[in-house]
Symmetry: C2
Amino acid sequence: ATNAGGLNVIRYGMARANVLGLEAVLADGTVISSMNRMLKNNSGYDLKQLFIGTEGTLGVVTRVVLALQEQPGSVSTALVAIEEGRHLATFLKHMDRALGGTLTAFEAMWQDYYRVNTAGLGRDPPLGRDHAYYVVVEGQGADPAADDARFTAAVEAALESGLIVDAVLPKSDAERERIWAIREHFQPDPGLRPFFSYDVSLPLRDILVYVEEVRGRLQLEWSTARLLVVGHFGDGNLHFIVSPGAAGSGDRAAMHAASDRCVYQPLQRHGGAISAEHGIGLEKKAWLPISRNAQEIELMQLLKRTLDPRNILNPGKVIDV
Amino acid sequence: ATNAGGLNVIRYGMARANVLGLEAVLADGTVISSMNRMLKNNSGYDLKQLFIGTEGTLGVVTRVVLALQEQPGSVSTALVAIEEGRHLATFLKHMDRALGGTLTAFEAMWQDYYRVNTAGLGRDPPLGRDHAYYVVVEGQGADPAADDARFTAAVEAALESGLIVDAVLPKSDAERERIWAIREHFQPDPGLRPFFSYDVSLPLRDILVYVEEVRGRLQLEWSTARLLVVGHFGDGNLHFIVSPGAAGSGDRAAMHAASDRCVYQPLQRHGGAISAEHGIGLEKKAWLPISRNAQEIELMQLLKRTLDPRNILNPGKVIDV
């Protein structure tokens, strides 16, 4: 119902791409059983799309047929450091091409995020804390020896060409987990509270300038504002952690609203999305016009009124009717 | 509008999986501009799904944003022979696992199809014509030397284990094209006319028994019936060419209707699709209840009536309203 994403969307797509069929219950109690099991089925309208990512507002999903993939037999990981923002996209393209379709993750951390999440390690982090950007890149294939050699050669080529300035390749699963923990386990320091989280996406080429636009707006709002940036760079999906810092004042709701303005208003001119993977719910409903135009919202409302005329399915979520 | 498929769906998905955004014109002239450029966007309903694969019945698609993929740097191909039908799916799984996500095509030909399409070659075909099944399997990766070695090793392992009984690996692009031509360029002999073509899909495990069910029904209909089977086996999608043969009598429409019955009626109990990739249009409309239940068809009709109340968009196609 939320078309969830995650760390491996770049390889496997979001939930929508992995759902073959489903069963849903409509507002009038009708059970729509579309339990398709085929990879290909163009026999009439693909009704499951009405229920994937619509957050329960058009029907209640009660069963799902998921497509399975062969489990990869190899995994190759690196944590790399990048100094110039423009190299993020170039390094992504380099690895995507070099790995020939086996790239499974490309996760970026801006410096502030890396510093916060390595502060409590109790040991030196895998890479120094003064680089501008960090990327966890991973490929999964079939043949550990050959895949590791290819992956390592691709990382070495990026080092030699200056795309990346440092890299560490884990030598064990435990080391791999420690690298992933830096990306995954957010460890906010006390000075960061309160903080507000975001889930935006935009075209790759606009990401760097957009982040600095947001940072500039936040600093105008609060001189001590902090912006931590992390995300699924390979998907164009960033997660922000925004904190007013010590200069933040006012109640939490007012601070949250100010933070929203700083993040969402500059997103519109980039054609970006206010939610890449977590959906709209109640919290982002007022901001939906940043990402969708009036005709789109009217068509959503028409679908909602048609399928749920008494507005009983997750009422008030996503759109008003 | 038809959610087209093709030879590489197993790797890249159908059109739906490759469309990021689109613009469509509704029946009342409203232009819905959903020109999303991101891989991830969960900001409200994914409206483009209304127009992908609905054959122009809910709107006219006027612009599309397509996702591009890195061009593969290597291609490895084999034509193999298989004697036992159950080995088709096992060989698919073997190659999918061995190639670690780089499998791009898995196309099967039953003996009769291979014979028809190699009859006019003017030379010996790449493999003898007495095998039960033939598969064109292809992987595309990044590194020609390493990928070819891995691909060849996977085919050799299948030979050694008896999954396949013969194989030929092209040594040039010209040889590769000759192999693909056997799969791609259907060359019906005069005795095959008239013939009727089909585009069904069903779960892999049911394919062999279903094909024989269809063959049995056709032989009851016409003692000289011929059934040529080819298709995107990796997607569970078969294309049939059905000919009444010399015993065929009656007008073409009556023969076509009899052929339809033989193909579609046994499909229902397998939960199969009467159209895997070519859509419903007019020709398959009467058979839609084989693949979709009454509740699904009513929901399709509700969408159609809501979005096109005057029935002016490709009227009469896919469903009646």
